[in-house]
Amino acid sequence: MRWGERMEIADFLLTVAVFVLAMVALGLVRILRGPAAADQMMAAQLFGTGGIAALLLLGVATEADAVIDVALVLALLAAFASVAFVQGAAPADEDIKEKNHP
């Protein structure tokens, strides 16, 4: 009885994981169309959050506790690439100025 219930909830969580992945895939469409670099980065952020959510769902569904650690690292570093994006969006010429006039 307990076992059957466990399977049910696991199946449910896997289904939601597929759904979230599908949403992420739709975000891909925005990357493909996105006129602005900011749009592409937003889609990448959706990838990050959706990836973490799918990972947690998969991990709990398959009772793989280590997955939570992976999600922890992803959450920590998802912000990281976005910082680089904002750095990219700013004019890079100032680096060179700083170099020439220390």
Binding site: L26, M42, Q45, L57, V86, A89
Partner: protein, 97 residues
């Protein structure tokens, strides 16, 4: 008891999934970068939050639950900051590409 908890999980996770749906729809349909940013950050962070809340009864207590909440807080914090930075970048004009 566990049946009630499972029901709670299903409800919260389903609600979270709906927020992901809303976020993606907003990302696809809204007209300009700032509104899309609004849709994305509101929705996907609430979505992740609800999924995390839903999963809480299913993981080992207390370390697993603690980590789950930490994941959500970190994602929330990072997304908040990044939205600020991205919105500023979007306002100040797009990078020349």
């Amino acid at each position: 008891m566990s049946f009630v908890l499972d029901l709670f999980t299903m409800g919260a996770v389903l609600a979270g999934a709906l927020f992901f749906l809303a976020g993606t729809v907003g990302l696809l349909r809204f007209p300009d970068p700032l509104t899309r940013l609004h849709a994305l950050t509101k929705a996907d962070n609430l979505g992740l939050g609800l999924i995390v809340i839903g999963l809480l009864p299913q993981v080992a207590w207390p370390l697993g639950a603690f980590k789950l909440i930490a994941i959500w807080l970190m994602a929330l914090f990072a997304a908040t900051t990044i939205s600020q930075l991205m919105a500023r970048a979007a306002r100040d004009g797009e990078p020349v590409r």
